[in-house]
Symmetry: C2
Subunit: 650 residues, 2 copies
């Protein structure tokens, strides 16, 4: 078996971003630069040229962008997707005989050698190429070939040969059977900005009532919208709003012996009132829900819905589709486990069922139903306990029709599993940030998240707490810890969120020494005094405003960690080249003591000239400092403000 | 489009070694362990199992090796290829319901829970599985199922369930439509040991005459075989042996104005006496050459032939196949360039010729012709100036029939180009070692060569010098430099070579300050006094003997660099787990001064117990030292011996 066309000499390899050989799309953001790169080279010493061809799935024609060479045979092109949805990208390269010839001609002419034969070769080149062009360019090429051939005026012929005018026409000339085409098509998914930049507030709607002792409703949540918007959040994520199972219902603190008034966990979904497409009657009607979604829109807030594909024992699926569950010889279904947690009130779905096609269809229809009611963001509960193949199919199908739909994966599990869910389509993912407290841990983890292997597939969303997780650092460190963790989340990751009332009121009592809240809101209705003053609330509001005003905080991938002389102080630069916005963030990781450190500003990465003073303005305190060169000193008292967010003003 | 079978829950990804998505084979060595690994995981918390299936291209059936899990969902199997040639490897994995059940049963039983229902489930599992087995195993499974089901003696039923006997039979049970198969087939090329462990001596046969002023012959080379064998070399590489062009022949020192007796460069191949399949008449006949090859075999030396696909202007190809060259309007062909070197005496072949299929066929036939004469190793001159696609095709075709044939790529060019040639099939490659002199440079480079990206495709061959390259360190550092560079090459890389007489007689005068030898043997015949005593010759002999006796030096990938307190001393451990052979090598990089250093022995990597003294014996000097713990002191006088090669003797 001989090579199909042995004359193609250029090699294209190590193309990026190519996720799992092109099986999954690389994530991009609309109107933001995406770098496409490849190792491209040929045998010998000829010049080569390369380009990318790209096409939105809705377009007919391929468009072309030339690639530029960098060091070590790495070529690059920048694609700024103009629409959301799927793009295909191909890479092509070829030996560029015209440029090879032009460079040789230039060198020989400069060295004073006779270039008559070179000019003849150039004339041949242009004449051969001319046939591929339409009239105007064809006659231009033939005219130029004439200049090279007659040789009356060698200097002006050489000038013409080296001109951009000739190059720019010749660039389009390729002998098709000498062009190498990279065999894989890169798949790119361009997402709306919210996929990469979002600020989440989580609450339990049933705890939203203004009066103690009452069950909250969608109308109560609506009343909270101005407050949430003022604090700077743009996604309001509600715990599940479906009917709650009555069989095996849990009581307070996850007890197996509930009282008659215990409301149960909203994640134990379904009872005789309905399942995943129904609404818990005490929250309101479908109309109330749609009203909330639409009212939130007026505050630029999107409602994120929690989808937990699991069933209380009295969910209608259990009797209607017994084949979707794995039954034991004693007629029971093994309840769900997420070690060390046990969920006695929910039955897992058996994704190995022979009826899997009907199951997949039904689960997808749940998403489609709520999309129909105006929901655009879904937070998916424990996706790592459901089949990967299902997510891959479902998310792709939904987003083909509605590319604006976003999915957040709530998987706190092993790294390879979390990475795979992101590749399979989840737009955002929860992370290990929740447990990364020291400077070393945070830097290592953020470097891992922003490395090439992950940056095009896994979009982190940093949560300092969730209803399931009260990290020891928050119980131990009190309000100062809550503040510093919030600043870290909000400035390291362009998407972050808090389980809101508990966080802003610094509730932090663990349950029997576990990493869990005691008297957890999952099992009981709470009442919050939404009007009380807290220092942390003011700071959250300020930080979210800073995020809005500083594009450097709207990307996760532009972080540059700075050396510091004290491990209790973490410091990093962030910059946005398009707007010129440049920040230096420093956080005191010690919630109790004032800490000082010399920090080494990454001048080069922040485009600061060495030797020239520069002004840094703290966007939290308003103070201005005159800094110079790399090493500068800071000091942070956590009882005043555990962080600086400096804007560089030159 | 729905997923083809949505019930397959296990994910297999990031499979290694997979070179360019399976397009190129990964290199392995016969009878040596090759690790096949992959990330393998499922949703949820079920147990999983995985295996590799492998098959030699000459075999009918696939064989299976179970994979074992490591940290972070990485699974591994070890394959020891029993034959040379191409193997295919596939990876499979599945949810292992039996093991999931067994683990759950064990935990519940230990916790004192009632396991009656669990045992029923186990009985069902075994009964379902039994249908897939032949009679003996089938009845065994049914018998065991009966024990689980009757429940008279729960403790003994549980013991049975947890026994290896049951597991080992159940391992073979899989529901085919639940087994995930990795879509790509890994291609492995198992090579003979010489591919990875070889010791090269290069000479110009025309300089092998015992009398000054005479043209050397194959018979003269034959007389040198006992000497070369005694020095421990097992590959004798000859400069090209073909007729040398008479047109545009070069004179001494690359001059364009040769005298009538100048022999020309052996790389300017071809004249009226013939081309790449002919022999330069002054060297002898084909029979003489075959006699040399066969005589060398008696000394366990293989003759490596130089193949330079380029033509002197009077090579028969030029008149017989003018379409294989690129002609200029003035009737000339542009001579070859390898900047900054110019080869006015050779014409490059045009791999873009439309007659490429005939060209490829003829070039391959050159190799086949010499294989027919008994040559098994080819050193390919400047492969980076010939099309990659040609090498890929040619080498694969040759090795399919003759897997014992080895190709060494003489490409000193950019990293991506050198890497690609290795992937395309070259078994060994020249490297940048020739210019890596400091501790930092050497360590960085060896780390790069042994990293996962390169270790399965690029087999380095370290050369301290070549006829084209006299590194400044050798001109400046004299004999001591020659010795220390030889020890580095011979102990860092399992394959190394020297351009022999020049190296062992420490010829080191550069030509006009360039990195080249003056009065280069490429353009004139030399006479060597083969019988003179030199210190370096004794050391080369000793080092090659040490390589033969210590398997740890027969791999390049087992190096572990040690911290040293002085940058003039480089130190590294090497070990061979199969034989237990463990070495510590230390080299003084300063050719003029005695240097001392504390070196930090990598105890753990060398299986040395902390706190226990151990004996290191210097295989160069014979001295023994008693060492303890990590940090130990050494001192090296380059005028005595610039290196230690310690064997650890506990």
């Amino acid at each position: 078996m001989m090579h199909s066309n042995g004359r193609k000499r250029v090699v294209i390899t190590n193309v990026s971003p190519l996720i799992e050989g092109g099986r999954y799309p690389a994530k991009a953001t609309i109107n933001e630069a995406l770098e496409i790169s490849a190792d491209i080279f040929s045998d010998g010493h000829d010049s080569i040229a390369a380009c990318i061809l790209y096409k939105h799935s809705g377009d007919e024609n391929w468009l072309e962008i030339p690639m530029e060479p960098g060091v070590n045979d790495r070529w690059r092109a920048v694609l700024k997707p103009g629409s959301t949805g799927f793009y295909s990208v191909r890479v092509q390269a070829w030996v560029d005989h015209f440029t090879t010839w032009k460079k040789g001609l230039g060198k020989k002419y400069e060295a004073g050698q006779d270039v008559t034969v070179e000019l003849q070769i150039g004339a041949d080149l242009l004449e051969n190429a001319s046939g591929s062009f339409a009239d105007a360019e064809n006659s231009l090429l033939l005219k130029w070939a004439g200049v090279f051939r007659n040789g009356n005026n060698v200097p002006s012929a050489v000038l013409l040969a080296l001109s951009d005018e000739v190059s720019s026409i010749l660039y389009a000339y390729r002998e098709d059977d000498l062009v190498s085409v990279y065999p894989e098509t890169l798949l790119i998914e361009a997402e709306r900005k919210k996929a990469s930049y979002s600020t989440w507030y989580e609450l339990f709607p049933r705890s939203a009532a203004s009066e103690p002792g009452k069950h909250g409703t969608f109308a109560d949540v609506k009343n909270l919208l101005p407050r949430i918007a003022k604090m700077g959040f743009d996604v309001l994520y509600l715990s599940p709003i479906h009917p709650i199972g009555e069989m095996k219902r849990k009581g307070k603190n996850n007890s197996l012996t509930p009282g008659p008034d215990d409301p149960g966990s909203p994640w134990a979904i379904g009872n005789r009132a309905g399942g995943h497409k129904a609404i818990h009657p005490q929250l309101g009607t479908l109309a109330d829900f749609k009203d909330l979604v639409s009212e939130a829109g007026k505050f630029d807030i999107e409602i994120a819905m929690d989808i937990a594909y699991q069933c209380a024992p009295d969910h209608p699926y259990v009797s209607e589709h017994p084949e979707w569950f794995k039954w034991r010889p004693d007629g029971s279904v093994q309840y769900a486990e997420n070690p060390p947690k046990k969920y006695e009130d929910i039955l897992p779905i058996n994704f190995e069922t022979e009826d899997w096609e009907a199951l997949w269809g039904e689960l997808k229809s749940v998403i489609e139903y709520w999309v129909g009611q105006g929901v655009r963001i879904f937070r998916i509960d424990n996706p790592h306990t459901k089949a990967f193949a299902f997510w891959e199919w479902m998310i792709r199908e939904v987003r083909k029709k509605n590319p604006e739909i976003l999915f957040l994966a709530e998987a706190f599990t092993r790294p390879r599993v979390m990475e795979r869910l992101a590749k399979a389509g989840f737009n955002q993912s929860y992370t290990y940030f929740t447990w990364r407290n020291t400077k070393y841990e945070i830097e290592e983890y953020v470097r891992e998240l922003t490395a090439p292997e992950m940056r095009y597939s896994f979009r982190p969303n940093f949560w300092p707490n969730t209803p399931d997780i009260l990290p020891p650092f928050l119980s131990w460190g009190g309000e100062n810890a809550h503040i510093l963790r919030l600043v870290l989340a909000a400035t390291l990751s362009s998407s972050y969120g808090i389980y809101g009332p508990v966080y802003e009121f610094c509730v932090n009592t663990p349950h029997h020494g576990k990493e869990e809240y005691t008297d957890n809101e999952k099992y009981e209705i709470k009442h919050w005094d939404w009007n009380q003053y807290t220092r942390i609330k003011e700071i959250i509001t300020r930080v979210n405003t800073i995020r809005k005003q500083n594009p450097a905080l709207q990307s996760t991938y532009n972080v540059e960690f700075a050396e510091t002389s004290n491990d209790q102080i973490i410091c990093y630069g962030k910059s946005d080249p398009d707007s010129g916005n440049r920040l230096i963030v420093a956080v005191n990781l010690d919630p109790f003591n004032t800490q000082g450190a010399h920090v080494r500003v990454p001048l080069w990465k922040l485009s600061i000239s060495p030797g020239t003073p520069y002004i840094v303005r703290d966007l939290l305190s308003g103070s201005r400092y005159r800094w110079q060169d790399e090493w500068n000193y800071i000091q942070l008292n956590p009882f005043q403000m555990p962080a600086h967010i400096f804007r560089i003003e030159q």
